[in-house]
């Protein structure tokens, strides 16, 4: 299948008072149609910036220094605003971490949801009467298993609980047909039992509609049962990717190994040392592989040249590490 979304060698920096933060350092990422992908990484690794680059919503102090983001063959970084908006309306949709911040508190759900449907370009919005919109809105809310959709439509966001708000956000993003759903930490602000429900819901909807989904999280467990492929990101690079099961049972990159070891286990084995050091200074990042100052296996070449994300043993398990890349 041709790549549906492809990010190639993306370099993005941010201008600040201390200098330029060279965050994205040649990001490589591929997504096929109907594929479910997760991106895990800790704060500051650049995962949200990558998504913003794809959607074209980077901050004003961002500088795109190289690379391509191609969606169905079109370079998202170079197309005109009008085309970008078309793609955003028809193909892409995003769910954010904080449902409270994503819903405008002065509008009722009916208006919020109605607007999204009305301007989705799915049908001539001149003909969209209140009745038609309400009907479609109720259908959308039913899809996300919200009890009593009529009451929800007539409510303001603050009258709903966190879990319900996030479901409304999901309904808004999937009310009209889309190809790709990007979910940035969608369950982080929710309780554990509600997280479970919402993730299941997302998985069902994605399966039912054959959507592609990019699920971003710093919580490894969130990603495990929801996606088929996982990418691990560190300091602006994708450093490992593989099928979900394989990544968790056989992590190859030293960072991934350290990360998995840091997660407290239900079996009660105590705490690991974590990963020594801290994330690199983006203004003066270490040359070569950015993980090298913290890596106990670091070799000469790690300090000189950045390894590419390459397949290991032909198993669809890719690592960006000189321990595995044949040289």
């Amino acid at each position: 299948m041709e790549p549906f979304l492809e990010v190639r060698n993306l370099f993005v920096g941010f201008k600040t008072y201390l200098g330029k933060l060279n965050v994205l350092n040649g990001v490589d990422f591929t997504l096929r149609e109907s594929e479910k992908v997760g991106i895990i990484g800790e704060s500051g690794c650049g995962k949200t910036s990558t998504m913003k680059a794809i959607l074209g919503i980077l901050a004003s102090n961002a500088v795109i220094e190289g690379g391509e983001v191609s969606f169905r063959g079109q370079d998202m970084l170079k197309i005109r605003k009008k085309q970008l908006n078309q793609i955003r309306r028809k193909n892409l949709t995003m769910i954010f971490q904080d449902p409270t911040a994503a819903l405008n508190p002065v509008f009722k759900i009916e208006e919020l949801l109605g607007d999204v449907i009305k301007y989705s370009g799915d049908f001539d919005h001149e003909k969209a009467t209140k009745k038609i919109l309400r009907g479609k809105s109720i259908a959308a809310l039913k899809e996300v298993s919200l009890p009593d959709p009529e009451r929800v439509l007539d409510s303001y966001p603050f009258q709903l609980s966190g879990g319900m708000r996030q479901r409304v956000c999901i309904a808004m993003s999937l009310a009209t047909a889309k190809d790709l759903l990007i979910a940035d930490e969608p369950t982080t602000s929710l309780d554990v039992t509600i997280q479970d429900q919402v993730l299941r819901l997302m998985k069902d909807l994605v399966d039912k509609r054959n959507l592609s989904i990019i699920l971003i999280s710093h919580a490894l467990g969130t990603v495990k049962n929801t996606v088929d492929t996982v990418y691990v990101m560190y300091a602006g690079n994708m450093i490992e990717s593989s099928e979900t099961q394989k990544l968790f049972s056989n992590p190859l990159h030293p960072y991934t190994q350290g990360l998995l070891k840091s997660v407290p286990k239900l079996s009660g084995e105590g705490f690991s040392e974590g990963i020594p050091g801290r994330i690199p200074d983006y203004i003066n990042p270490p040359p070569g592989c950015r993980f090298n100052p913290r890596c106990q296996h670091a070799m000469e070449i790690c300090r000189k040249e950045r390894p590419s994300l390459l397949e290991v043993n032909g198993e669809n398990h890719k690592v960006a590490c000189w321990l595995y890349n044949k040289r």
Binding site: M164, V192, D196, K224, K265, G268, F271, G274, R278
Partner: protein, 323 residues
Amino acid sequence: MEKNEDLLVVENLTKHFKTSFGVVRAIDDINFTVKSGETFGLVGESGSGKSTTGYVVMGIYTPTSGRILFKGNDLSMHAKKRPKGLKKNLAIVFQDPASSLNPTKTVKDVIGQPLRIQGLAKTREERDKRVSELLDAVELPSQDFKERRPKDLGGGERQAVAIARAIATNPSFIVLDEPTSALDVSIQAKIMKVLMKLQQELNLSYLFITHDLSLMRNVSSRVAIMYLAQIVEFAPTPIFFRNPVHPYTQMLLSSIPVLTDDEEKLKPKEVTSRGEVPSAINPPPGCRFHTRCPFATGICKTKQPSFVTVEPDHQVACHLAAK
């Protein structure tokens, strides 16, 4: 204090808040004890009252009724009314590293504040030296960090500073309110290691509050689980996780995301979580969990369950357990 003596005793503690929507019943008649040198875990989701419990123990809120005894002294009042000498024995580390440190102060000021208030380390040199010692204890480079401001520090570093501030007055008891929830997993591991080390070295007792059960499994010696202002089950940690009896405990345990198959096997049989947490202003009658409980029977809807001892040290408030 000998190890294993009762350090903190909480009796029939209740805290209600009057708001414009009605009376919010944040804590309703809870009882527990923390012994010296141990970590007592309080687990629950949002709205359970676990954080409020920590705040009432620290004196941030005045209890509506009930008693708090610390080493036999009555502490059932607001922090402002507590004797200064007693105050230095208790400390708290908050959940959000961003707002627990004053952004306009330097690290030196922040850690020096409790020293100054309690009159420990009177001269500038003494204070300086003590701040360096404390930074070393939490594994932060002391020379570098003293003059920095919170906004230049990462989340983990800020929490480490908050911990250094908490141990400054040599307390015997620290309330840790979700100290690592806002941190990445690799930094969480580091901070937890520091906390464990400090507990050993300084013989500290912790009231550890979190919603993360995997974390709790590794840190506490006894666990109590709260639902809607009440404790519904408590037991020593290994027993709590091996044999959860209350349906809510089972529900919570079965929904935690784990990474390995070995851990999956340790989870109880799945109790699918249903519904939302009811309002704390109007909690359901009878057993408060009955609206979400798949095993609810007639009596659950009308009568509050009392505690039943299921095993030595393991108590559950559930009508089904009484059978």
